[in-house]
Amino acid sequence: MKSITVVGASLAGLYAARALRTQGFDGRLVIVGDEHHHPYDRPPLSKGFLTGATDQGQLALVDADDTADLYAEWYLGTRATALDAAGGTVLLDGDRSLDTDAVVIATGATPRLLPGPEPGEPAHTGVHTLRTLNDAQALRDDLARGPARVVVIGGGFIGAEVASSCAMLGHDVTVVEAAPLPLVPQLGDDMAKVCAGLHADHGVTLVAGTGVAGLQGGRGYSDHPDSPDRVTGVELTDGRLLPADVVVVGIGVRPSTDWLEDSGLLLKDGVVCDAGCVSSLPNVVAVGDVARVDGHRAEHWTSATEQAGVAVQNLLAGGTVATHRNLPYFWSDQYGVRIQFAGRRLPTDIPRIVEGSAEDRSFLACYERDGQTTAVLAVNRPRPFTRWRRELMRST
């Protein structure tokens, strides 16, 4: 194999590129990424970067030495528009193309948008999504204009972190969640209730069980009488209107597979892969948020980093010789509380608090099925969490 192209220059793509070199690939390595930045870390974007505790330099995933060690050709600010794996080409914007023997797909995910204005119609200013450094910078600048009424649409982890950061900055924050309770799919009712309680603990209003009917905009924004179409409020499906100066839409992501539509690859909520991250074509692997590995698509930092080594091993071997031992793990920091979760729970698994208490916002809960622990949730209990996580990794 003489040339390999990694598409997506972020966490999973970078770890795959590193793995290619450490596993002995010495051919041409090309890394294509549509963002202009070198790989950086996303988790702080909703946490320290938004509050100002973390600056842009601290987000970098590579320094000059790392980049030199990779000996790669970087095509940054460049979008891959199509893949012809059989013919061995990746098409790039600007009518360019790259010949390649194999491809690592690491294009991640893109925020879902509210069913909004017609295409071509400008969206309201003051409405944000949060995925990229540029998104985070725009939100940070908007929040720096002065105390604002912030409405966060979506009470998932990223929504909750944004709400927490905005509250810490002194803004007046409301979280709108369509489901009766946020985070139920991830944590189950009981534990979701505890986590949802964090909002109220810190003066953030949670409006749950009602959807968003639409956004209102106009010239009513006090500081900026001339700004023509700044968002002014969020209309809810129950008829209520929440006044808003800043709106953050955090209603989930969809895998970035648009560019693969005509590739012949099997796509189904992500690039369909076996347990070794190998796609329906043997010279194409997928890693990170874009990959549906053995029926599961994770959107977690650790999955992206862990999958890379396995995917590369299989790519270089020309077939699946290794599989990814998948124990999903994620963490979230909100309101000064660290939440960590590992395992794979079914909705019927029963959580049991084994140390600490929910009232103190410091506890460890094990999810149990037929007397077996299937997953573990820690709120401000990192030490026992790590032990449990190890235990679960051993037993799965």
């Binding site: 590193r18 870390d41 702080p44 320290g48 995933l61 320094d63 930092w301 650790t302 980093t305 963490w331 920091d333 990192p382 030490r383 969490f385 790590t386 032990r387 190890r390």
Partner: protein
């Protein structure tokens, strides 16, 4: 010099976080092999306390993103951490764990 605790209160495999009398928190480990080591407690990657990490031989795994640090040198052995943590002198005298905090730059 700081008295951290009695050695009996820090059995092999355990760690303790020291915050009093030190410029920055320090993590003290007693390995299964019986060695005692002290390093800066805060991971050089992001915000995690290494005393909460998983001890494996004379290495500790960060509880947040699993960087490994060598307790002897303070150096990380794998990403995402790149910078070493400072190491500190620690000794056991008359059953007490004593910490001599260094102000030197990390190795």
């Amino acid at each position: 010099m700081i008295t951290v605790c009695l050695i009996d209160d820090l059995p092999p495999g355990e760690s303790i976080r020291v915050t009093d009398g030190v410029p920055a928190p320090v993590a003290v480990f007693h390995t299964e092999e019986g060695e005692i080591y002290a390093i800066d407690d805060t991971c050089t990657h992001q915000d995690a306390s290494l005393s909460d990490g998983f001890l494996e031989g004379c290495f500790v795994e960060c509880p947040l993103h699993e960087a490994f640090f060598d307790l002897r040198s303070g150096r990380p052995t794998c990403p995402p951490a790149k910078q070493p943590v400072r190491t500190h002198q620690v000794s056991v005298e008359s059953g007490r764990v004593l910490l001599h905090v260094s102000v030197a730059e990390p190795a």
